[in-house]
Structure formats: C-alpha cells, structure tokens
C-alpha cells in the first residue's frame, strides 16, 4: 500500500501563505495603530439578523442554527425568529445605555420580510452589513460564479434599498465562501469582509477592485459558540468577554490600538435570562478610559488612515 505521489509533493511550500488571498503578517510586528482621540480599543458590536427558512435544503451543509427536526421544524424556526421580534430590541436597549451603535449583519430576506426592523436599526444610526440572502443561501464551490454573483448583487440591492446606506461590509452566511467569493465581493465594490477569523485587526485582502479588507469578526468568542455550542453559562460568557477586553486593552498600551469585536445572535443573547451578561460585559468595557465604540466602516477608515 502506498499513497499517490501528490501526497508527498508540496507545490505551495514557500515563504508566506499557501495561497494569494492575503499576505503573511505578524500582529505584533506591524506599525501600531492610533485610533481617533487616542482611543486604545475600538469596540465593534455586531449582532446578526438572520432568517432560516422552514424548508431549508442545507446545501452544502446546514449552518449553525439551521432547522434540525423533521419538517415542519416549528421549534427552531420560531426560536430563530424570536431574535428578530424580541431579542434584538433587548440588545438595542443594552447598547443604548452606553451610546453604542452596532453594525448589524442582515440577511436580505430579513429586510424584505421585516422592513420595520431595518428602519429601527437605521433610526439608531446602526451600520448595515450585508449577510447574504438568507441562512439557506450559502456561498460555496458548488455555485456557478454567475449564480453567486447574482446572490451578492441581489443581497446588496435589497439592503441598500431598505437602509438607504452604502452597505460597505459583508458577512457570508456561516462564513462560508467559494473560491470566487472574495473577488466577487471586491468587484461589487465592498470595502470589507467579516468571514476570516485569523486576525485581531483589519488587513488588506487581494481581491478584484483592490480595496477589500478583512475585518476581525470572531467565531469562538460569540454567543452562539459559547452559550449554545459550548453550554457555558451566561456568567461564563460575560467573564470571557471581560477577559478578552482586558488582554486587548493591556496589549494596546504597548502595541497600539486594538479592535474588540463582539458577535451576537439576538435569538441567543436576547433571551431574558441572558441579556444581563451583555449588559455587565459592556459596563466593564465602557468603564475604561479610551474605548471608542464605533461601526465597521468607521473602524476600517480609521485603520486605513493610520497606515498612511
């Protein structure tokens, strides 16, 4: 028994990455970033407004939060919708206490179905990030480039129309991409993508259009991961957010400004017994000097100016 010779061939073994999507770069060896007003932490709160169709196909896989029981899976459908009806308003209240404006990642289907919700976000001066068509339209290798482009164009048209905003940021549903996604996003004129979890700061992508950047949007310190997947308590979630902040804040004293992103799902954190965890974490964070609560565009623009 032996393996095919390609198993011992390493055509991408060279300095830097094994692809051309972005450059290799070490976080502590970059030019320190100075945020506006000499802030140490740019706090970026990113709730996601998602719609999971009842008849999901789950191609090429079921995203986290997908329908799970035999059709019709009313329990999961309605619990996800709870976030859009109730949970998000608790998040709005928690953020308003500190004057924090969120950057909300929205499925186009949410804007089409619940225009009142988009108006509520826009009234609060929240930034709209495009989060694909819905949670059953993943971007993946099985899509033709033309179909994927159509999905992106449709999503942007709906969200730009509903919000009146430029919509400069993108989060792929379930952070799933095809090999064409980054170029399509760049060609569509987007400024940033939130799918890549390899950094704590923005960095440039190599994509069509030449201006696409990655923004640091985490998967592991996220309410769904910690509370639903890991079964940690809401107090544990609060502690982990506070610990995340403390380390980044300390690091910013010597390495320049940092971004702290908080990824939220209103059907998770917006439950009555959990919302306090967010409130307490925000009180801890906002109790420090030098915290700049900002939107994705504001953070990216400030980061770009700091590179000059």
């Amino acid at each position: 028994m032996s393996l095919a010779p390609e198993q011992l061939a390493y055509p991408q073994r060279r300095y830097g990455m094994d692809h051309a999507l972005y450059d290799w770069s070490m976080l502590p060896r970059r030019k320190p970033v100075l945020w506006p007003n000499a802030a140490r932490i740019a706090l970026w709160v990113v709730p996601a407004l998602e719609w999971f169709p009842l008849n999901m196909k789950g191609v090429p896989f079921k995203p986290p939060g997908a329908m799970a029981t035999a059709y019709p899976d009313l329990r999961h459908y309605t619990l996800r919708d709870y976030g859009n009806r109730v949970g998000i308003f608790r998040i709005m209240q928690a953020l308003a206490l500190h004057g924090i404006r969120a950057s909300v990642a929205v499925n186009a289907a949410v804007a089409e179905r619940y225009p009142a919700l988009i108006r509520a976000c826009v009234q609060r001066d929240w930034e709209i990030i495009a989060n694909g068509q819905d949670m059953d339209h993943l971007h993946h290798a099985g899509l033709s480039v033309a179909d994927e482009k159509k999905q992106i164009d449709h999503t942007l048209a709906v969200l730009r129309g509903a919000s009146g905003q430029a919509v400069r940021g993108w989060l792929s549903p379930a952070k799933s991409e095809s090999a064409a996604t980054l170029d399509l996003l760049g060609a569509a004129g987007l400024d940033y993508v939130c799918d890549w979890v390899n950094d704590d700061m923005p960095y440039p992508m190599h994509a069509s259009g030449g201006k696409l950047h990655a923004m640091p949007h985490p998967i592991d310190i996220d309410d769904t991961t910690i509370l639903v997947q890991n079964h940690h308590s809401e107090d544990d979630f609060r502690d982990q957010l506070c610990d995340q902040f403390d380390v980044l804040y300390r690091e910013s004293a010597t390495q320049g400004g940092r971004v702290m992103a908080i990824s939220l799902h209103p059907w998770v954190i917006g439950q009555p017994y959990r919302i306090q965890a967010l409130e307490q974490a925000l009180a801890h964070i906002m109790g420090h000097q030098g915290v700049w609560a900002a939107t994705g565009c504001e953070i990216l623009d400030a980061w770009k100016s700091a590179q000059a």
Binding site: S2, L8, Y10, M26, E177, I219, I221, Q240, D243, Q244
Partner: protein
C-alpha cells in the same frame, strides 16, 4: 492489523524503580506548543479529509492561521515571563512559510521536534519509503533552519502506519510523544534503535480542552493546577512528568491568555519543578532509567 500495538510491556505504576530528576525535582515540566501549518487545499488522503466543510473551508483554515499571525506571539510572551522554554511540535513546512516564528522560538532556546510536514498531510496509507521520506524531510529541515538534531516525534495530526515508531527510531530519533499510557517516561519496543516515550497529554492539550471538551478558559487553568498538584505530590516518591501541549490558535486567543498564564505562573512558582524540554527529559530517562524500566516490566500475556 494487530490486536495490541506491541510498543510496551506492562509496568504497574507502583513498585517501579524510582526516578530522580535533576535538582531533586519532583516533576519534569514541559510545554509543547504545536506550531502548525494547515493547507487551504491539500490533496486528500484516502482515509481522511483535512477539513470539515467542503473546500475551501475558509473558516477553519483562518482559525488555525490565527495561531501564527497573532496567538503565537502572545503565548511566547507569557512563556517568557514564566521562564519556560517550549519544545516545539513542528510541522516543518512552517520553517519555509513563517521563518520569523521559527527564529523567535530559536532565539529563546526552544527545542524543535517533528510533527510531520503539514498538519493536513497524514501518514495513513504510506509505504515505508514514503514514510522515511517524510521523516528525512523533518530531520533535514529542522537541521537546516535551526541547526538542531531532530530527537523527538509526534505524528502529524496523530496519524500513523504500523511502521511509524520503528522508522523514527531507526532513523535516529530518541523519543516519541504519541503514547498516552503513562505519567512517567518509558521504553518503547522498536525493531532497531533506542526509543523513549515521553508523556505528552491529551487531557492537558488545549485542542481537547477547548475543541472537544468545550471548557471555559478559567476552568482550563483549574484543570492544569489540579493536574500539577497531584503530580507534584506523587513526584516526591518518584519523579513524574507533566506536559502542556498547546496550539497558539487556541490558547493565544485574548480571552484565554490570562487564565493560562496564571496556571503557568502557579506551576513554575514551585521549587521542585524541573523546567525541561522533551529532549532533556528523554535523555535523562534514557541515561538513568531506561534499562531498569525495561527489565522491571512484565511481558504481556494474552489468553488464546
């Protein structure tokens, strides 16, 4: 296929020759950061896919890439503050992709041992010549980039053939981290060469702790301290080994760093701890206890 791997005889924990570590330490403590490179689009091994999602799995790829870009540097600083040298479990292609990471380890006196070429290339299915080529690549790459002789082995992504341990011993390596049967080093029965098993750990490994057992960072610190306390107490009678295997993409996340450093500082704050590398532990055991352990062990009987 074999019913028993056949790598070791039975040697009960109580009644063994007593181990004395240098400086009369009770615990030989070592930290083994896995410095890894996962390829975005590797060729598929017939026995295992590299990624959970269809290619390109940008989520899982990027998560691991975080380790080299960001997490490693935090972990390095925490280890420096605690005066702990790492024993790097190295996907040797990192020498080519990220030589700065290798330099930072070398500058701090860390040991490098092999964890294969890439963490997305698996040994299952290889013939002997192919497996020897992988091991030789590790020997040559580590020598070329660090000047060190390769002494230790942890198979890439814990993948094996029946030949793996025989081949690493035959090619001059002196220890392996692949066997989880003990809290002390022990002889490994190989065809040629002299091979020591140095306790690594899955229980203390941040991949198991965070990705499998899904524990809280502060709870991980508790686990590490409790493990240490018990091994430190038992080490008064006969020296034990404690290893913390790490992955910078996991332990190096900001919200996990302080709890880890607190545990590391607790452990290294004890007097009778030998802050060693894998090679040093293997060498000491090999020089003083290997033969006595081999002689004391019982051949395993099996009902027919």
């Amino acid at each position: 296929m074999k019913r028993d791997p056949g790598f070791y005889d039975y040697l009960p924990y109580h009644g063994r020759p007593a181990i004395r570590w240098p400086g009369d330490a009770r615990v030989a403590f070592w930290v083994a950061p896995n410095i890894e490179f996962y390829e975005l689009n590797p060729p598929k091994n017939p026995a295992r896919s590299a990624w959970a999602r269809p290619a390109p799995d940008v989520l899982n790829y990027a998560y691991r890439d975080y380790g080299n870009r960001a997490g490693f540097w935090r972990m390095l600083d925490a280890m420096k503050r605690c005066n702990v040298r790492g024993s790097v479990s190295l996907n040797v292609a990192v020498c080519d992709h990220h030589p700065e990471v290798i330099r930072a380890c070398a500058d701090n006196g860390w040991e490098f041992y092999s964890h294969g070429t890439y963490n997305t290339r698996y040994l299952m299915g290889m013939d002997e010549a192919q497996e020897r080529a992988v091991i030789q690549d590790s020997i040559d790459t580590i020598k070329k980039h660090t000047g060190q002789k390769l002494d230790g082995w942890l198979a890439p992504a814990l993948t094996y053939t029946d030949n793996t341990l025989d081949l690493v011993a035959d090619m001059g390596l002196s220890y392996v981290c692949d066997l989880f049967h003990d809290d002390q080093p022990g002889p490994v029965k190989v065809k040629r060469g002299r091979l020591t098993s140095v306790p690594y750990s899955l229980e203390m490994n941040d991949v198991i702790v965070y990705n499998v057992n899904l524990v809280q960072p502060r709870r991980y610190a508790e686990i590490l301290k409790r493990q240490f306390d018990r091994l430190y107490a038992e080490g008064e009678a006969s020296g034990t080994v404690m290893c913390i295997p790490l992955h910078p993409y996991l332990v190096g996340q900001p919200y996990r760093m302080d709890a880890f450093e607190e545990a590391l500082s607790y452990i290294t704050g004890h007097d009778k701890v030998w802050l060693a590398t894998g090679r040093e532990i293997a060498q000491h055991f090999n020089d003083h206890y290997f033969d006595a352990f081999a002689a004391a062990a019982h051949t395993v009987g099996e009902a027919s």
